[in-house]
């Protein structure tokens, strides 16, 4: 901020994009900017062609950023396509970078952090779309319903808790391909994640 407030400043500024993939299968970081930069020890490749685009309206639509990377040599496009589903859900950070041409003092500010939700590749550009995290389409509200079939994610360690050898479940209480076949009797009555009596005599009696 001191840099920006100096009256004698001569500043160059750039848009930056960092893509971080960090999961059990792969850990990888990509750094792109509209010029080759060194920020915090990382080299930012000058592949970013068009500044980010994030749109939202006052009705709280998703904040969305669209960043274009050059793909004339097709390298970035092939790289991102090879990542497949690993790219979706990885974290993008879009920012601005300022550097005083006289003193060399620089400053980097991240303006948006959020998951990548879209990728479009053509022979000119790779277009990466990200949304800011609070606006990501991932519900933090009431997601589970009073239903007949089990709603746990099969083998989820915090809910289903099945850790045996079987890899599928049909989510039915008394079925050999369901809770009976995984947890057995009587444990299935403790583990089942739904409301199997909903369609029996549980209905409201109308008088």
């Amino acid at each position: 901020m001191d840099l920006l407030s100096r009256k004698d400043k001569q500043i160059e500024s750039h848009t930056t994009l960092q893509v971080s993939i960090n999961n059990a299968d792969l850990t990888r970081n990509y750094y792109f900017a509209s010029a080759q930069l060194m920020i915090l020890g990382a080299t930012w490749q000058p592949q970013l062609r068009q500044g980010s685009q994030i749109r939202a309206n006052l009705a709280r639509a998703s904040d969305q950023a669209t960043v274009d990377l050059q793909n004339v040599d097709t390298e970035i496009g092939l790289e991102f396509l090879s990542l497949g589903s690993l790219l979706y859900g990885s974290t993008a950070k879009i920012g601005r970078y300022w550097r005083d041409l006289q003193s060399g003092v620089d400053f980097h500010k991240v303006l948006l952090t959020g998951p990548i939700v879209g990728l479009q590749v053509d022979e000119q550009v790779v277009r990466v779309t990200a949304v800011s995290e609070p606006y990501a389409n991932l519900s933090v509200g009431a997601t589970r319903r009073a239903a007949l079939s089990c709603q746990w994610n099969f083998r989820d360690p915090s809910t289903c808790q099945y850790a045996g050898t079987l890899l599928t479940c049909n989510f039915l209480l008394n079925h050999t391909d369901g809770c009976e076949g995984r947890h057995g009797t009587p444990l299935k009555r403790a583990k089942f994640g739904a409301f199997a009596y909903l369609s029996s005599k549980s209905r409201l009696k109308t008088i």
Partner: protein, 484 residues
């Protein structure tokens, strides 16, 4: 590239280089209407208040969402079992799902308990076994065994399910009631919702989850849920990402502020109450931003996303973080006092009175008589979630100060030295056009235009603030309960 943020939507807009500027709603000074009540106030509470009404509706056919419940609520629930047996006497067993407990994920979120349970208005008592009429509450732990560990199969229906992860109430109706009629739909209860974690100022978790209505802790519980839903098989990663996302210093200040006590008379004599509580429920899908809006609205607070971390701000006066003057303002400010005919001057808030055992709906009002004399009554009606009358009055007074007492907004275009400002920050302005010298202003919206071939510029909509927006003393004693 242009970035646009506003206090109303927390939105962020970037435009291409050279794509021109984008205003907020679209600038010119009047784009953002503070009077909507959506600036972390009345309007943003409407959804929460509506959700509280939804959970009072009995659902007999299943299919309903299991609500996420914080604080105390009156709940009818979702009927998941009704076993009626004719005999002498008749027996009627009812099991109702109240909401999601640990089933929401992350191995936490069980409920605290039942405050009171009624059938057809008659209070039921806790049943000690599977044969005595009354109710038995299950917190919503993840079950590990039918007859061992947490959330066992209830004794009222010992051949049934444990309803793992779901807060339930199991009821055996009194004999006289079961003999008279076979209806499960007259069951209502007042319950205490989810237990949640607490953290210190560095983000370190403090002990086990415990019942709390602190809006700050509620906000973090939803933030943690976001990452737990995103990484359901790696709760350690979810916890770490949550910790990295929060500006802990500001969060702790907000949390301490909420739980600090103030003096108030609820009708039984002056005592101390927590400054802000959140009795909040979510009954459907909701994104994190909207959840934050609703939680913060119950406490008059704001949240900011600085691009990397979430910052929470209490409604207190804060030090200005920037000073605008002629050296950093690029064009003359445009000043727009809100038209008197569009300025609310009579504020009404409806809410569930927390001090009423049945959480009945009441209302409070705040008037600005000087304005009413000039243009007549311009009413603004809001709905708050369940809270104490004191909290409702203080929140409504804050709305009145925001929307009626401080009507002047100002559009400023400034240089890049103000690029760090976020909606919700306080600044000062000195400029000859409005005649201001260190005028305190609230940042309502921000629009940053950046171009690779030119200097960054920032456009702001500011609201001139001439007094404190919030007061601990803007409440009156509650009418004591009288016996007719």
């Amino acid at each position: 590239m242009a970035i646009s943020l506003d206090l109303d939507s927390q939105s962020l807009i970037l435009l291409d280089n050279g794509g021109g500027d984008v205003g907020i709603g679209d600038s010119g000074g009047g784009g953002l209407n503070v009077g909507t009540g959506d600036v972390s106030g009345g309007g943003t509470s409407n959804t929460t208040a509506a959700a509280a009404e939804q959970i009072e509706e009995f659902i007999a056919e299943g299919g309903g969402s299991l609500p996420i419940v914080y604080g105390e609520h009156l709940i009818a629930g979702i009927l998941v079992l009704h076993k009626f047996t004719l005999g002498t006497p008749n027996t009627s067993i009812i099991i109702v799902a109240l909401g999601d407990g640990q089933g929401n994920g992350g191995q936490h979120g069980e409920w605290e308990g039942a405050v009171a349970v009624y059938y057809a208005g008659e209070a039921l008592s806790v049943s000690p076994d599977g044969s005595t009429a009354g109710y038995r509450f299950a917190n919503g732990f993840i079950s590990t065994g039918v007859a061992s560990g947490p959330q066992q199969v209830d004794a009222f229906h010992s051949t049934g399910l444990a309803y793992s992860g779901t807060a339930i109430i199991a009821v055996k109706l009194p004999d006289a009631t079961a003999n008279a009629e076979d209806r499960p739909d007259k069951l209502r209860g007042r319950y205490k919702g989810r237990r949640i974690f607490d953290y210190d100022a560095t983000g370190r978790r403090l002990g086990a989850a415990a019942y709390s209505t602190d809006p700050a802790r509620i906000a973090l519980d939803r933030l943690l849920a976001y990452y737990e839903h995103k990484f359901p098989n790696d709760l350690t990663l979810a916890q770490r990402l949550m910790e990295e996302k929060v500006d802990w210093e500001s969060w702790k200040i907000w949390s301490n502020y909420n739980v600090s006590t103030i003096s108030w008379d609820p009708g039984t004599g002056a005592g101390n109450i927590a400054r802000f509580e959140g009795n909040i429920v979510f009954t459907g899908d909701i994104i994190l931003a909207d959840a934050f809006d609703q939680i913060c609205a119950a406490a008059g607070a704001w949240w900011q996303d600085d691009g990397e971390q979430i910052i929470f701000l209490p409604p207190t006066d804060r030090e200005p973080v920037h000073h605008f003057n002629e050296s950093n303002i690029l064009s003359a400010p445009i000043i727009r006092p809100t038209d008197l005919r569009e300025r609310p001057n009579y504020f009404i808030a409806e809410f569930r009175d927390f001090d009423d055992p049945y959480l009945g709906t009441v209302s409070v009002e705040v008037r600005r008589d000087a304005l009413i004399k000039q243009v007549g009554e311009i009413k603004s009606v809001r709905v708050f979630p369940a809270m104490k009358q004191s909290q409702a009055q203080r929140l409504l007074e804050r709305q009145a100060r925001l929307e009626a007492d401080n009507p002047t907004t100002c559009t400023i275009t400034a240089d890049e030295t103000s690029i760090h400002l976020l909606p919700g920050d306080f600044v000062t302005v000195s400029h000859p056009v409005p005649g201001w010298t260190y005028q305190r202003c609230l940042v309502l919206s921000v629009s940053i235009s950046s171009a690779e071939d030119g200097a960054d510029t920032c456009e702001f909509i500011l609201q001139a603030i001439n007094d404190s927006l919030y007061s601990d003393f803007a409440h009156t004693a509650r009418q004591e309960a009288l016996t007719p």
